[in-house]
């Protein structure tokens, strides 16, 4: 019997993260047939007012733990808080957004609860009372269907897998404040401070357009035209493992099995041959454009549109063409 679905609503810069609102939509869709309430769980410091707005995004009611020691995004503090709110709510399913923080906190809470945990799901459904989750493994080289074997299930939902529901502004729901029943000392053991963006640019995992470069660019300076192209498209610049290992780009930009998995609307691969571990990290992009001198390069097997040619000629021409195309829109 289902006692509800609890959704951890991650707060960053005073608002719910977009991926958490998507997680609420995932819970809503599951609750349609599984039944039970969709319960928001908000943990943080000075978050009570924000918690009261969770109804707008699809929660039936909200539990909040508003404590000074939760001001920082520590795994221990928020993990323990989420575990306690889960027990308090009696929910059968706990969902968090598959953000970096969400995945840490959910895994920690699952261990505290002794609950089966399924990470980074792209779809959730159920068969009777049994939760079934779809999740990619090997960075997307294979797709699994996973279930839990425990009475409580904890899952994280990959960002952009569910569309957020249209908000119902002003919808008020009941808010219950819960006090911590655990020692907060551990949550204070690690002090964290955001030291700002490394590069001052959009992260590849969040960008809607990614312009990615490989060894075919010849040198670190070869990325300059890619940055110009990305700027015109409002996108981020990614990189293959080879150029990150060579020290041309920061590892934060690496796309592939030992880097990031991305799924932008448009992925432009420049001078990337398409090693299997790179393809794993970008093959679910909606549209892929590949530019490579070698017509036999594996990247062309996954590319929607291919251009055989030298990136040093083609990329600046693309930038120019996009600039005028976007200006005439």
């Amino acid at each position: 019997m289902n006692h509800g679905i609890l959704v951890w609503l991650e707060v960053r810069d005073g608002v719910f993260r977009k991926a958490s609102i998507e997680a609420l939509a995932a819970a809503r869709s599951l609750a349609t047939t599984l039944g039970g309430d969709v319960i928001g769980a908000v943990t943080g410091s000075g978050v009570s007012d924000l918690a009261a707005t969770a109804g707008t995004f699809g929660a039936d009611r909200v539990l909040v733990m508003d404590q000074g020691f939760l001001a920082k995004p520590t795994i221990e503090g928020h993990g323990r808080a989420l575990a306690q709110l889960s027990t308090h709510s009696n929910a059968s399913v706990i969902i968090a957004a598959g953000t970096l923080n969400g995945r840490d906190v959910a895994a920690y809470a699952a261990a505290r609860l002794g609950a089966g945990y399924i990470a980074d799901c792209t779809a959730l459904r159920h068969e009777g009372a049994r939760l079934l989750a779809t999740r990619p493994v090997f960075a997307g080289k294979a797709i699994t269907t996973v279930t839990t074997t425990t009475s409580i299930s904890v899952v994280t939902v990959r960002p952009k897998s569910y569309d957020a529901m249209p908000p119902s502004p002003g919808k008020t729901v009941s808010v219950e404040t819960v006090s911590p029943a655990f020692d907060a000392a551990l949550a204070r053991a690690v002090a964290e401070a955001i030291v700002g963006n490394a590069t001052g640019t959009l992260d590849v995992s969040e960008a809607d357009v990614v312009v990615s470069g490989g060894r075919g660019l010849g040198s670190p300076e070869g990325f300059k035209p890619l940055e110009e192209l990305a700027a015109v498209l409002g996108g981020a610049v990614g990189a293959s493992r080879a150029v990150v290992d060579a020290g041309w780009r920061d590892h934060a930009a690496q796309i592939g099995q030992t880097g990031k998995t991305v799924a932008p609307s448009l992925y432009i691969a420049c001078g990337i041959s398409g090693a299997i571990q790179h393809l794993a990290g970008m093959r679910t992009s909606r549209v892929i454009v590949a530019i490579n001198r070698d017509p036999e390069a594996p990247i062309f097997k996954v590319a929607t549109y291919g251009i055989v040619g030298d990136v040093t000629d083609v990329v600046p021409a693309l930038t120019k063409a996009f600039r005028s195309a976007l200006a005439s829109r």
């Binding site: 493994v137 934060a252 929607t304």
Partner: protein, 249 residues
């Protein structure tokens, strides 16, 4: 300082995945296994910490089978002092693996620093580190790309979406390593010879998984694309296709 490193073996990232007969795992025949790349960074950082703090020891743990011996010997050659293979039957998930590791760490009298890779490149769950911290009741800092530690405590740098965070704390703590943390060393011939004398044992363990895989399939193929043309001449047609056919700009 007592330092523990958790390693796992994974198929080489160049592996082309074939689904096994059970339809729940990959076909392992012919697959080359390596130490999980993120675990290599964890091992390196653990050895550096040991070298910095006199009297420290590094114990390496892996949940697996006897075939992990080769990789554990490599870890011993690089500077670990002792290695244990924890053998458990049946399919294991993150929860069971974390439980097996936590039980072994507790039986060994606990640890001041526990190092793991941020995730395996196999399961991609990134769950064992935080779960271990919950089970051992110690803090956890994940996805480190920078680390400075001494007997008094540590300062670490980690990546968050579109930015970086710095974390300060004291031991004990669980750390997970990301690419960029360090450049792992290679073991020399002399060290490899000497590693044969270091203790490496296998012990049995058991833990209940909390989840299981019902099915594994290959992803659907992408719809066949096409080469639009060559060089700069292909630029205008591609931009047109992106706008009018794919409708992404």
């Amino acid at each position: 300082m007592k330092i523990i490193v958790c390693l796992c073996r994974v198929p080489d990232t160049a592996t082309r995945i074939v689904i096994g007969a059970s339809q729940t795992t990959i076909e392992t025949q012919g697959v080359q296994y390596i130490i999980n790349p993120f675990d290599e960074f964890a091992l390196e950082e653990a050895i550096r910490l040991k070298e910095k703090i006199p009297g420290s020891t590094v114990m390496v743990l892996t949940v697996g089978k006897e075939d992990a011996q080769k990789d554990l010997k490599t870890a011993l050659a690089k500077g670990a002092d002792e290695a244990i293979i924890i053998k458990a039957d049946g399919p294991l998930d993150s929860l069971a693996i974390a439980r097996l590791l936590a039980d072994t760490i507790t039986a060994a009298g606990g640890a001041d620093a526990v190092w793991c890779g941020k995730q395996s490149v196999e399961d991609d769950a990134a769950a064992v580190g935080p779960m271990l911290a919950a089970m051992l009741d110690i803090p956890c800092v994940t996805r480190l790309i920078g680390f400075e530690g001494d007997a008094a405590g540590f300062t670490a740098t980690r990546e968050v979406e579109g930015g970086r965070e710095s974390a300060k704390g004291s031991f004990p703590c669980v750390f997970t390593a990301d690419k960029g943390l360090n450049k792992p060393r290679q073991a020399g011939l002399k060290e490899i010879m000497a590693a044969g004398k270091k203790p490496l044992r296998t012990q049995a363990g058991s833990a209940q998984p909390g989840s299981n895989v019902l099915q594994m399939v290959l992803p659907a193929d992408r719809a066949a694309g096409r080469i639009v043309g060559e060089g700069v001449a292909a630029v205008a047609p591609v931009v047109d296709l992106l706008r009018n056919e794919a409708k992404v700009i």
